[in-house]
Symmetry: C2
């Protein structure tokens, strides 16, 4: 079975808006083995939308329309679906009453135009939408399945996950699918490819996809079988072989990102952490506090952006800053040690200190340490370790990559990986 | 004239990747008054892609394909464009030599498969691409214009902005377009709409679009005229009226975001700032340092996430934390005052202190101050000001919105807006 998604709305054809509902729908369809053949974005134009629906239904078994179900006159999905299928729209009085009731509950009068939302394609099933006024619609005919969903993600997502997935199960084969996601840090994409290429290409029962982002590689292993448990077993058998090859560079077996993984480690082992960061300007602390409950392990951080802050707030030795500079092995080490000391003082407990200092650019840098050079420090009871990395160009990219590397170094230090 | 964009690549049909080239292209096309009628994403499937190109060319004057021009066998854009137009692909020896030369420069051998990139649609103009191996292609025939562009943004963007825009000028009317972008903070979308609705709807020569994001509203004013200067004058005349109505809630007249605006103010007035943040966990400092050259005005920040950090690092009075709690008017005030004191001590110069403390959730909160409650403090030589806001739910959303509000309060304090 294959599917197409059509996102409706002129605002999605502007330079500032992007359709993201299709990403969610693609993932859910994938869980039932339905592949996305194509997706498109169409403005609020009845004729163009009608043609688009016709063409998509000719090519694919399942066509999903998102958006354009609201009350206003430029919400044209219902009308275009009616034109494309040749089915009239039928007014359902109970939907009108339901919309009226919703308005009453919020103490607002219901404008007449809202009744547009009570019109449903003849023969379509109504997908009740408790989170909004426009219900979804589900039509099955000789051409396949046509699904109309409201555009707001908070309405669309539960409606699809709860109602549509159950209805899809009437059609899809008994095949179930499972995707395991391994995540890897600290080694490059070509290294990963070279080390595991033979392993995964030797297993045709699993579809392997490698996705690479700065400082982070994802290995998706997708298998199908009559039950989800069986599909899972097939994917995880290959996952175990890959894990055996890559060792502890694999930081996650279930797709959890690095910040969550590190948070879990810190929480599980009762370790406290404090940071001192310069070029990342608060992003490392922000990442460590992105996870709910982070106060269990994160005491706080110093964004010691200026020399004065490094000197006065952290207490880094003036001589280090004067002779070696604020971006140096020595400064990174002193910052990590001082971050640890300040955290231990504040909490009265052991802690790890992590530091980042570098040239994010575009200005700064020296001949020896050009823009993109970043130093990392980690200090704990056993001592300290420093790393220097050259992260290329682009201020935002360097900052984001530096945060990933700092987290990965922290993970390795906790696990005793050298 | 109308255009369509087709993004090519199976990776763009997965749950994790989204096409963003089309946003850039939409903006550039808009500068020449060319509207986007539709956009789509198609996988690496020659037949589907061929049909898509045929259909798009029937409907629109300009069709742009992005991606699928690389050397590998699943790069099928050239072949599909050949099928769709009935034009053979012609091998250009100078492109082969150019690719060989590129490889030589990087000291790598050129695999034979790279020669695929030297095939060009018969009759098409070659768009030389100095940043990659695959050139773009530009075909004009009785059906209109067909443009093939490489997928990597760093190749596509300059190629389109420099070469294609010039070539488009041969076709578009002499009409030129200008869009002014006003940005507004501190008032809600419906307030903005109510206050300026009559102003912009009374001016049919300008197309007005209002885009709303948490804590930030953009008003786009688009006008067309025979020259860019004239278009600009029309848009800016309306912009001035809107500015007069909304006053200093308009923080930017040229689309610059709030962090840049605040950075410009701080830099222009030689003001130094230090922060103390709790629930935003470093994001406020990260925003203040996102702009190059931020060391001119940003001394540093305390991510005083724990009570201990507020107490020991900032020096907030224990009594305040014990009796009023870490999320309170009193704590926000003390944090702002201490952030200022620490910054003044470190720099030996005057400074402003900014603080944020709140419940980002999902845990925490009290009956009086539930999850989503955030307190903001600002302290300078003249005293301090505190604000309390209820920011709703969603940890990430609350954190991001709190950063916007803190920046806006800082902007208003600097400008003396109450």
């Amino acid at each position: 079975m294959q599917a197409e998604i059509i996102a409706v709305g002129s605002e999605l054809l502007t330079p500032t808006r992007v359709d993201t509902n299709s990403l969610f729908l693609t993932r859910k369809l994938g869980e039932r083995g339905i592949l996305l053949a194509r997706k498109s974005v169409v403005g609020d134009d009845r004729q163009i939308l009608t043609n688009e629906i016709r063409r998509a239904r000719e090519a694919s078994d399942v066509v999903i329309l998102t958006g354009g179900l609201g009350p206003t006159l430029d919400d044209l999905t219902r009308d275009a679906a009616s034109d494309a299928t040749g089915r009239p729209l039928v007014r359902h009085e109970w939907i009108v009453r339901d919309i009226e009731e919703r308005f009453r509950r919020f103490n607002r009068p219901m404008a007449k135009v809202n009744e547009r939302q009570a019109y449903v394609l003849e023969g379509a099933e109504i997908l009740y939408n408790p989170r909004g006024t426009a219900p979804g619609q589900w039509l099955e005919d000789e051409q396949g399945i046509l699904i109309l969903l409201p555009g707001p993600p908070r309405e669309l997502k539960p409606l699809f996950a709860e109602t549509c997935m159950r209805m899809l199960d009437r059609h899809v084969s008994q095949q179930r699918f499972f995707t395991q996601c391994l995540r890897v840090a600290g080694i490059g994409e070509s290294d990963v490819e070279q080390r595991i290429g033979k392993i995964y290409s030797g297993d045709p029962s699993v579809t392997t996809t490698i996705l690479s982002a700065p400082g982070d590689i994802q290995i998706h292993l997708r298998a199908g079988a009559p039950t989800e448990e069986a599909a899972r077993a097939i994917a995880e058998a290959l996952g175990a072989k890959i894990r055996a090859e890559l060792g502890r560079a694999v930081y996650s077996l279930n797709g959890a990102p690095l910040d969550e993984t590190v948070a879990g480690l810190l929480r599980g082992r009762g370790i406290k952490v404090g940071v001192a960061e310069s070029c990342t300007g608060g992003l490392l602390a922000a990442k460590l506090t992105a996870v709910p409950g982070s106060s269990e392990y994160f005491a706080g951080g110093f964004v010691s952006y200026s020399i004065a802050a490094k000197r006065h707030w952290l207490g880094v030795d003036e001589a280090v800053l004067d002779t070696r500079g604020a971006v140096s092995t020595e400064a990174a080490e002193a910052m990590a040690i001082k971050a640890r000391e300040r955290t231990v003082e504040a909490l009265g407990e052991p802690a790890i200190g992590v530091s980042v200092t570098g040239y994010a650019g575009p200005g700064g840098g020296t001949e020896q340490d050009p823009v993109g050079t970043v130093f990392f420090g980690i200090a704990d009871e056993e001592g300290s370790a420093i790393r220097r990395r050259q992260l290329g160009l682009g201020r935002n990219r360097v900052r984001a990559l530096a945060v990933q590397i700092a987290l990965e170094l922290l993970r390795r230090r906790i696990l005793g990986i050298s």
